[in-house]
């Protein structure tokens, strides 16, 4: 039905008459629709009749819009009478019609033309309340929301993946439970955020994942991790796409959706409905194991317990008068402490748990960490009662109700953790208008750990208690229809409001469940401290803020320039001549602040290796599965920090090396067993600082590099040095061969590795960052690939030297010693040039002026200064004119020219504004030692 214009009877029939007649009819219809039970034929029939009536009246008054919509209404009713599978669109339509009619009435009231009200439209397809493939995103999405989503959800997705992987590997129930909680929270948060923006495509996936999750949790079945990893992959790809700026397309999710919906644990009942009404299990009581009940020791327990409880109750009465009386608090503490001990001895677990909780709470009071407020007093009293009831079991009475017990324990734990704040939920709360769980409120109600949906909605004032009651009544006759759905269908509330209320309920549930799921207290009469396991999660890392990296970089650059400018001022000879003590002091102060600022700026760029390592964890899993190998991954030093830029660059080389290690290094389980190794291979990623560099090692216990195969391949490709016998080549040089472009000994080129494009790229990437790759390998035992990188790319401590008019910077770390040679130390040897004797070593002398093509500078060795450089065991001796000093310099790239230079790794701007060239020691040492050999 399209839009039609409504013609008002031009004869000027007073609208007021139409209005008066129609109004009651419209009201009637609206009410009927609100309360219609679409399965009850009688209701429908009445409705239909009402529509017919209204139609006639409207037609009479020339309100064709209204009468046409009545036609629609009648149609809808007929459809509903036919009991369609999806009644909701029709019900929604009815709601719209009612709304439309009311609006027309309002328009008439205000003397506006009725055709200003838009007509209701028939929905052609079912609304996506339960999940079909999502429609495209609404065009007017707020870019800021997307940005926040991309930022925070990226982290959430990573955490999810981490949890999934950890669950796969974990065996024990305790960590499983912890992961469950984390997974649930993350999924829920992501789903919530998707809902806000909105991103229905992702939201619906998350929703089904949550459902699936709930199913498996209930059934106690292990999660289908590969499917869940598919989900995180999809989310990751989607987030990347959003980050790229593409908001309109949603990646294909139909298949994944279907799988999520269909995946069942073997013994699980059917999918739970969209909205659940949760309730405590009523009815069962606490009981003790039979063995205890027959123990003679129990009579002792009973007597003593009663005594302690009497004492406690007296103390509580005193506390009510004087809340901070430490003596009474101690009394209570000692009492429960003893009770816990005794109960532990008898293995009366419920008693132990309760007593332990009370003990903790009272301990907090004792140490002044919390105040003895009304709530706590009430809890104490309840605890005494409960304890009495528990003791009663031993006396043969029926124990307290399980629900009451659980509630008390939960409340105690809430009190212990202090106002029950969920740190995770707070941090990850998406931005939306619905108020967060009022945690104070939820704590102030120790009974009933979470509210029912109806309660929440009533509390929010969205719906009256009466309507909720009516709905709940109807719910009884319509089996299984959830309250929320009913409210939405009746048009009383929007889906969004229901969702928000359900979110609140979820959070309340999570708060309560978290405490219930806390591990059992181990009975231990002597040391209750150890028995008490904290129910609070590990505290999160310090709060962070997201910053645009461009801004960060420009800040760091500016600070770098400040350092230089400050040095230029500081070293200005004019200032030096002023000889003012005050001035010197101030300059020194400025220098110090600048240095500190520089350090702080540098540290802004430092990030840990943790995310990189985690990425590798996923990679290891995937590659090992693909390659049919079993690999145990061990991570060490993931908290090591590096410059952000370095971390980015190091990821690809690591990926490549790990793939190699798993693909070529670690053998298949069969082969491993044949050679006497464990079938599961071990891959270790280690990161640590070493002398101004950071080292990342990839260690595997596989087959190691095969010398023969490498030599054979090298010979094949003509890569062997001509005049040396391969057998003479030391291992180190053989391993070097694999860095040649195009080299690969893989017999089979898998899609993982083996194409021979890897190792040379790895080395190049490393060298771009002034880093190195080193290999140590032993046949049959395994290999160690070491990546060595400078800690920060930006600053170096160096010795400034002069050769002719040119200045150079030699990294201090590489300098072994410098000296002016005495004649006795110098030797000349045929074919090898000039040598100098240094500490029992004879080193050839290289003049810097020759190395770098200068035509000025000192020629006579005895007039110059010799500097011995050392790099990884190799040494070389350089000759310079003069040493100018030692200082920290900021490494500046030489721009486009950098690629051309051998032996120079960068430039530095000195205090007088002139440029010094930073010597690349490694390149130089290698070059010179080769020349000698």
């Amino acid at each position: 039905m399209g839009m039609q214009s409504v013609h008002i009877d031009p004869s000027g029939n007073p609208q007021s008459r139409a209005h008066m007649e129609l109004q009651p009819l419209v009201d009637q219809i609206a009410k009927a629709i609100a309360f219609v039970d679409e399965a009850a034929a009688a209701d429908l029939e009445v409705l239909r009749h009402q529509f017919v009536e209204l139609r006639a009246a409207a037609a009479e008054d020339g309100l064709t819009g209204v009468s046409d919509s009545c036609d629609l209404g009648i149609e809808a009713v007929s459809e509903l009478m036919g009991e369609p599978e999806e009644p909701s669109p029709w019900i929604a339509l009815l709601g719209e019609i009612a709304g439309y009619a009311s609006q027309v009435m309002d328009a008439l009231d205000l003397e506006l033309p009725p055709d200003s009200v838009p007509l209701p439209q028939v929905q052609q397809e079912a609304p996506a309340s339960e999940s079909e493939v999502a429609p495209e995103e609404a065009p007017d999405i707020d870019p800021e929301l997307i940005e926040m989503f991309v930022g925070s959800s990226g982290d959430n997705v990573n955490e999810l993946e981490e949890c999934f992987l950890a669950m796969e590997a974990a065996d024990d129930a305790a960590s499983q439970e912890e992961h469950f909680g984390q997974i649930k929270r993350s999924l829920h948060t992501i789903k919530g955020e998707c809902g806000v923006i909105p991103l229905p495509g992702a939201q619906v996936l998350c929703h089904h994942a949550e459902d699936l999750f709930g199913r498996f949790l209930e059934a106690g079945a292990p999660l289908p991790i590969p499917l869940l990893l598919e989900l995180t992959d999809w989310l990751g790809a989607y987030i990347a796409q959003l980050a790229d700026g593409d908001w309109t397309t949603v990646p294909e999710n139909g298949e994944l959706l279907a799988k999520l919906q269909a995946c069942m644990p073997a013994d699980c009942p059917d999918e739970s409905p969209l909205f659940e009404e949760h309730d405590f299990d009523g009815g069962s009581n606490i009981a003790f194991p039979k063995a205890v009940l027959e123990d003679d020791v129990r009579s002792d327990f009973i007597t003593e317990a009663r005594q302690h409880l009497d004492v406690c109750e007296a103390a509580i009465r005193e506390l009510e008068k004087r809340p901070e009386d430490p003596e009474q608090i101690s009394v209570i503490f000692r009492a429960f402490h003893t009770l816990a001990g005794m109960a532990g001895y008898l293995n009366l677990d419920p008693v132990v748990k309760l007593a332990g909780a009370v003990e903790t709470m009272v301990d907090q009071l004792r140490r002044g960490e919390t105040a003895c407020d009304k709530r706590r007093l009430e809890l104490l009293r309840s605890s005494c009662d409960m304890m009495g009831a528990l003791t009663g079991i031993l006396e043969g009475h029926e124990g307290p109700e399980e629900t009451a017990y659980a509630q008390l324990v939960a409340s105690l734990e809430l009190a212990i953790s202090g106002a029950g704040v969920e740190p995770v939920a707070e941090e990850k709360a998406p931005v939306h208008e619905v108020p967060e769980v009022d945690t104070e409120e939820s704590v102030a109600r120790p009974r009933g750990a979470w509210r029912k949906l109806g309660e929440i909605l009533t509390d929010q004032g969205l719906v009256s208690a009466k309507i909720v009651a009516v709905m709940l009544d109807r719910q009884k006759s319509v089996k299984g229809k959830p309250l929320g759905a009913m409210l939405v269908d009746s048009g009383l509330l929007s889906q969004g409001e229901i969702d928000a209320a359900l979110r609140i309920q979820e959070e309340e549930k999570a708060l309560a469940n978290r405490h219930e799921v806390a591990p059992e207290q181990t009975p231990c009469p002597k040391d209750p401290e150890a028995a008490r396991e904290p129910a609070v999660r590990k505290p999160r890392v310090a709060s962070t803020i997201k910053v645009n990296t461009g801004r960060l970089d420009s800040l760091v650059d500016l600070v770098g320039e400040l350092v230089i400018a400050q040095q230029m001022v500081y070293q200005d000879p004019v200032l030096g001549n002023l000889a003012s003590e005050r001035l010197s002091r101030n300059l020194a102060h400025v220098a110090k602040i600048t240095r500190d600022m520089h350090e702080a700026a540098m540290s802004l760029r430092m990030v840990t290796l943790k995310p990189t390592f985690q990425k590798m964890a996923r990679l290891v899993r995937d590659v090992s599965v693909k390659a049919g190998k079993q690999v145990e991954l061990v991570l060490n030093g993931e908290d090591t920090e590096l410059d952000r830029n370095v971390v980015e660059e190091i990821s690809d080389p690591m990926v490549h090396l790990i793939r190699n290690a798993i693909d070529h290094g670690i053998e298949t389980p069969d082969v491993r067993q044949v050679v006497g190794k464990r079938p599961t291979g071990r891959l270790e990623l280690r990161a640590f600082h070493q002398g101004g560099s950071i080292v990342i090692e990839i260690v595997d216990d596989g087959a190691g590099l095969s010398r023969e195969r490498i030599l054979a391949k090298a010979a094949e490709q003509g890569l062997l040095p001509k005049d040396t016998d391969p057998a003479d080549l030391p291992d180190a040089q053989v391993w070097e061969l694999i860095f040649q472009p195009g080299f690969s000994t893989a017999a089979v080129v898998s899609d993982i590795s083996g194409r021979g494009v890897g190792m040379d790229v790895v080395r190049r990437n490393l060298e771009k960052m002034r880093g190195k790759v080193e290999i140590v390998s032993s046949a049959g035992e395994g290999s160690v690939f070491s990546l060595r990188l400078p800690l920060t790319l930006a600053i170096i401590d160096g010795m400034i030297v002069r050769v002719g008019a040119q200045r150079y910077v030699l990294p201090t770390l590489s300098i072994e010693q410098s000296f002016r040679p005495a004649a006795e130390q110098l030797h000349e040897v045929m074919n090898k040039g000039e040598l100098v004797k240094v500490r029992d070593m004879l080193l050839p002398i290289h003049r810097v002026r020759d190395l770098f093509g200068q035509d000025d500078g000192i020629c006579n060795v005895q007039e110059g200064i010799l500097i011995v450089l050392e790099d990884n065991g190799q040494r070389c001796c350089l000759m310079v004119d003069e040493i100018l000093g030692q200082q920290q310099v900021v490494i500046k790239s030489l721009g486009e020219a950098a690629g051309l230079l051998r032996g120079i790794s960068g430039g530095a701007i000195l205090g007088d504004g002139r440029i010094a060239l930073i010597v690349d020691v490694d390149g130089l040492v290698t070059r010179t030692s080769k020349a000698v050999a």
Binding site: G895, G899, G907
Partner: protein, 173 residues
């Protein structure tokens, strides 16, 4: 600031001179024009790469355009300037700076698209890779060679061989 590959509709160009020869560079690629600064030599680079200079805390390489184009070098005088240009690069911002030593800088002017002809007529000693068009200035009849900076000045692509274009051309012949 939009950087275009080829001029569209007509663009603004900075015209400069090497001896009697006139050249043009897209104004959007010109970062600044400065006088000669102290040049720090670099080892083992092609001779037309004169070295690096300190431009307010940033180190940028400078190239002698005469030598790059195979013309005889001149001693630098007070009119010699350095035109700092933005070159496309793999740097994070997408550009890196290179200084270009020229004899003189003339003016910034608009050159209409219609006035630009493709450089096929050149052939001979000049490689066509770095001149993307020849413009005839209507009022003076001067022909301005429009330079494609990226291919002309991208030092990294040149390797460490010390070649000038004249030599390249000589080899080709």
């Amino acid at each position: 600031m939009a950087i275009q590959d080829a001029p569209k509709e007509g663009d603004q160009y900075l015209t400069l001179q090497l001896g009697d020869e006139h050249y043009g560079v897209e104004i959007l690629r010109v970062r600044e024009i400065i006088g000669l600064l102290d040049i720090t030599r670099l080892p083992e680079v092609p001779s037309f790469v004169r070295g690096v200079v300190n431009l307010r805390g940033k180190i940028i390489p400078v190239i002698d355009l005469r030598m790059r184009l195979g013309m005889p070098a001149l001693t630098y005088d007070e009119r010699t300037c350095v035109v700092v240009l933005d070159l496309k690069s793999e740097a994070e911002s997408g550009f890196s700076q290179v200084g270009c030593i020229v004899d003189t800088v003339n003016e910034v002017r608009h050159i209409a698209l219609e006035a630009i002809e493709p450089p096929d007529c050149l052939g001979g000693t000049r490689s066509e890779d770095f001149i993307h068009g020849l413009a005839k200035l209507p009022e003076s009849g001067l022909v301005v060679s429009l330079l494609d900076i990226d291919s002309l000045l991208s030092i990294a692509l040149l390797g460490s061989a010390d070649t000038t274009l004249k030599e390249q051309a000589a080899e080709a012949v």
